[in-house]
């Protein structure tokens, strides 16, 4: 037997070599930088907490105040309503945009161009003051004053929702385009109509691409609802603003509002994370670890013993 031949054959039949035990690379600078970051963070918190002109008492006084809670409730209503309009209309616009019908696609293009191109603030204001252009709506003898029909809350929902639809349309369109063309062909070859192909085959697969930016949009929307203050909608920001104007503790009240915005977006972030994980099933063989799992791994990685160095093949007398 030559040496080359004996190498692999002996290890194949023989025992598995001992598992590698090595000293991990030390990351000293990570510890140094972590200490520096902590130091700065502590300094920043200390400065804000002990600022002589801030009255933290006011902050805690209003943090759980009834008016603020009413504002939070309305903020959530605006967010949900505007996102529902945005998503539904966005899907319709995206499908129209990709339609072979030139009227449909031109209409969708124009909508997106217009609503993406003008400020949301102006759009909310426009719906709120629709009566200037259209004092009454109705047919024949039956007429209703526009101001009665469109309340401030509705103006905000319309303004936010119709604007969102333009952005959602582009997100949905990107999702639709990401689905392989062979899917459409296979469905067409089975005799499915364009709308059936879209609804049954393409959109369900586009969801994986659509979900992450939609979560992003929802978080963004939660804070953009504060623009409803131009229509005097008493949502969270408007409430904080009003109370601040009243007691001249403006900064403290904005801190109160920001605290709740931060808390709500945090909840949404966690929700988005798990929604994405859910839609990744079937596409990825193995799901990535959750932050909780990663954290645990980080904590225990330094102390965790390496896999025991027992040979996989039981050592028999023959090998000895």
């Amino acid at each position: 037997m030559t040496e080359i031949a004996s190498g692999p054959s002996s290890s194949q039949g023989g025992r598995r070599p001992e598992a590698i035990k090595a000293v991990p690379v030390r990351h000293r600078w990570r510890w140094v930088s972590a200490a520096l970051v902590l130091l700065f963070a502590f300094g920043a918190i200390y400065t804000v907490a002990t600022a002589p002109l801030l009255r933290w008492q006011t902050f805690s006084e209003y943090l759980f105040q009834g008016l603020i809670f009413d504002g939070i409730r309305l903020t959530l209503v605006l967010t949900v309503a505007a996102m529902v309009i945005g998503i539904v209309l966005g899907i319709v616009l995206a499908v129209m945009r990709l339609s072979p019908n030139p009227v449909m696609s031109a209409l969708a293009w124009f909508y997106i161009w217009f609503f993406r191109g003008t400020p949301v603030l102006v759009q909310i204001f426009f719906w709120f003051n629709l009566a200037i252009i259209l004092p009454y709506v109705g047919v024949g003898g039956f007429r209703v004053s526009t101001n009665l029909l469109i309340t401030a809350v509705m103006a905000a929902i319309f303004g936010l929702g119709f604007n969102e639809a333009a952005y959602m349309a582009e997100i949905v369109r990107a999702g639709i385009i990401s689905v392989e063309h062979g899917q459409t062909e296979a469905a067409q070859a089975l005799g499915m109509t364009r709308l059936q192909v879209m609804r049954r085959i393409v959109l369900p697969q586009a969801m994986r691409v659509i979900i992450p930016p939609t979560g992003n949009e929802t978080i963004s929307m939660l804070k953009t609802t504060s623009l409803a203050f131009v229509a005097s909608v008493p949502e969270l920001f408007t409430r904080a603003d009003q109370i601040g104007n009243f007691n001249f503790r403006y900064v403290e009240l904005l801190f109160v509002a920001s605290f709740w915005y931060l808390l709500m977006t945090s909840v949404l972030t966690v929700g988005q994370y798990y929604l994405e994980r859910y839609f990744a099933r079937g596409a990825a063989r193995e799901l990535p670890p959750t932050p909780f799992q990663r954290f645990r791994r980080l904590l225990f990685t330094y102390r965790m013993p390496l896999p025991a160095a027992e040979p996989a093949v039981p050592v028999t007398s023959e090998h000895r």
Partner: protein, 255 residues
């Protein structure tokens, strides 16, 4: 037999931009006939297949399936484009199997098979599922009804794709290089299913590189190159004694 041809092509032309892919295709496929189409890549064989169920529009000539024009109706000497609904209805009568399977990844094998019977034909769920199960049994996948495509091997996926096409009870089956994306060891199981279909009397047009299959299961063999049919005839004759130099050259490379 008195019945006319299942597929009839008369001087079919098709271009993509400036590139002329089909330059006058004439052929006839009789009911129950199995026609295999071979030729180098870019010869237009896949494009011709896709014209038959109107996934591509032809530019000139006439193409008939079961005596009816593909994609148009003729009144007098004028052609009228068919509305989408009609195009879809005609496509539903022609099964197609793709090189890359194109199964719907978000549906199980059975759901893939019953999707079109449910939503195109409007069959009842229990009846469709019953027939779907039988079809999956027929292609040897009784155990894999509830598996998702990414849990199946290439050969299994292609067999599901064949069952999916058969679920619409087509009068004609088109195969676009059905085994070209498969590992060599998986080719046989797909060809076995196709042989079974041929034996049952299905009309089939098969674009393929599997000369063995063409020889045994095919009634006719067509060699295409440069957008024209160079040679056609009984598979044994064409493969053993090609009458054109171009065919001889191609066969010498692939056999």
């Amino acid at each position: 037999m008195a019945a006319g041809p299942m597929v009839k092509a008369e001087a079919v032309y098709k271009s993509f931009g400036r590139l002329e892919v089909l330059r006058g295709i004439d052929l006839e496929v009789a009911p129950r006939e199995v026609m295999c189409v071979i030729g180098p890549s870019g010869s237009g064989k896949s494009t011709f297949l896709r014209c038959i169920n109107h996934l591509e529009k032809i530019d000139a000539g006439r193409l008939y399936v079961d005596g009816e024009l593909v994609g148009y109706t003729q009144r007098g000497d004028r052609l009228y484009e068919l509305p989408d609904r009609e195009v879809c209805r005609k496509r539903s009568e022609i099964g197609m199997v793709f090189q890359r399977f194109n199964l719907f990844p978000h549906m199980t094998a059975l759901e893939n098979v019953i999707e079109a019977p449910l939503h195109v034909k409007g069959e009842g769920r229990s009846a469709a599922a019953e027939r779907g199960r039988k079809l999956l049994e027929r292609v040897g996948l009784a155990e894999k009804m509830d598996a998702y495509p990414n849990q199946l091997s290439g050969g299994q996926q292609q067999r599901v794709a064949i069952a999916r096409a058969l679920a619409m009870q087509p009068k004609l089956m088109l195969f676009d290089e059905p085994t070209s994306a498969l590992d060599p060891e998986l080719v046989g199981e797909v060809l076995d299913v196709m042989r079974g279909l041929a034996a049952d009397g299905m009309t089939m047009i098969v674009v393929t590189h599997e000369m063995g299959f063409a020889r045994e299961a095919g009634d006719t063999l067509v060699f295409m190159d440069g957008g024209v049919i160079v040679e056609a005839g009984k598979p044994r004759d064409v493969l053993a004694n090609p009458s054109h130099e171009r065919t001889r050259l191609f066969l010498s490379k692939v056999l």
